[in-house]
Amino acid sequence: MKHLLLAAKTDISESLRSRWFMIYTLVFGGIIVALFMSGLTESRVMGFSGLSRLLVTYLQITMAILPVFVLITTVRSVAGDREAGVFEYMLSLPVSLFAWFWGKMLGRFVVVFLPVFLAMFAAVFWGLGREVQIPWPQVFYYTGFLLSLAWCFLGIGMLVSTLARTSDVATGIAFIIWLLLLLFMDLILLGLLIRQGLPSETVIAFALFNPMQVFRTAAMMLFDPQLVLLGQSAYVILDNFGKTGYIIWALLYPIGLGTVCAWAGYHIFKRGDLP
């Protein structure tokens, strides 16, 4: 446990010093500031107003940016260290591979989750200061969704990172994964597939197993039970799943997927040549 925490701490410090983290924090902090400045909280569109509207918009933007950020920065982690020759020395120290790998994962999780989480809570605190009504249930669900999404893409990133021998290849694979998941969302390919008469089970499967789609649908569901804003696949999913069931799925499935991917990555890492 001590070694795991040491590895996590080392990764956190390393990330805090890196440029990507600065950009990452600026992006999410900037999004919140931009949303405030655009006067979003003052407007009312389709029933959303105040902080609820700001959070919906923030979550939608996060859904698009967070996965690609997490993937691209994480895949460089193991592959980059291996490529740079860090492993030869660091893994000659008596640290277990379990502690090293999962410590890295834990450290990276803290680093990717905190800025997103803090930016959202900055909005909440702003709301409290202005005595705006805070949609607490939504805030907690959103925190859960963000946690789940960050863990999921972190796990996928760690798997890609152990599979690829160089950080360039890892980055390429990460980008393709993000692009594919983005394409298989309701607005793009799923809508097209439904229009072409694909069986609803297939469409449901696509939507249920795409973590980005799961996150998007669940996030919108809290504010838009009729799913007016969502594409056609969301209707099918809701008919078959129900609201509560889907929210549970949206919280647990990405965590499960991330853990399975990270676990597979750990076993590949453990069994292969380290440097």
């Binding site: 001590k2 070694h3 040491l6 080392t10 410090s13 390393e14 010093r17 890196s18 740079a84 020759g85 860090v86 492993f87 030869e88 020395y89 660091m90 893994l91 000659s92 120290l93 008596p94 640290v95 277990s96 591979l97 069994r271 292969g272 040549d273 380290l274 440097p275």
Partner: protein, 295 residues
Amino acid sequence: MINIKGVSKQFRRVRVLNNIDLDINHGDRIALVGSNGAGKTTLIRCLLGEYNFQGSITVDGLAPGKNRTEVLKRIGFVPQLSPPLKMPVAQLIKFASGVCDSSPEKMLAICSQLGLDVSQVKTRPFNKLSGGQKQKLLISIALGRDTDLLVLDEPAANLDPEARHRFFQLLADRQHAAMIISSHRLDEVAALVNRVVEMDQGVVVLNDHVADQIDIGSVLDCRLTLNRADSAFAETIREWGFADSKNGLVWQGEVAGPDRLRFLGVLSRYAALIKGIQLDENNKAGETDVSARIA
């Protein structure tokens, strides 16, 4: 202590190690020599449990791959190329001492003995240190904990003569430990070892014990007399800590015992200038035994 049996390693179609058999006992100080691509680094990585391989390696019955932490706790390793770590020096020491169950103070004490003042560089990223500073720090991490095997890959390559001398003294204090000192050239490490293992194209071509009469911690008093003063020579010899005692014509200083061959190699570049060399082994009782005198 270490039993290497039938170890082979292949990268794609290239066989880098070919059926290596080797036994290493406590107190063995091995020069692992061979040209580039001989397989030295690969063998070291197999020993550190970093590579998968055919055959078996055990350290007192434990396989490094399966018992990583138990085995690596007993091995101090200094790589040839410093890792490009961005973490600050203080953090590296803290991490290393934490995973090695050692104390940072012990590592800092070795740093200080090697002439590295960590308080001056503790916030600096490791990769921003000079080559010599990096080497001193890695040596301090390896020696600042209880180990019974030291694996040193060209350990003194970036050290100045003074730091080399102190490093040799630190090794002398660890005579009970087994050592594997890897180098391209035997003359660089000959004085430190009592056994030579030479590798070529993945096989051991020489495995022999050598006379180890040289005390690793010994010091030679040296007096050099020149035909004429020379600025280039002065610059070089000052790096060895020598002082001018007669207008650049007579130089006096100390040379670490294991460094004598290397020192004479440096002097050979100025052979035309040198009128006399006096090298006296300085024993600890204060008596001086004449070991070499050329005049």
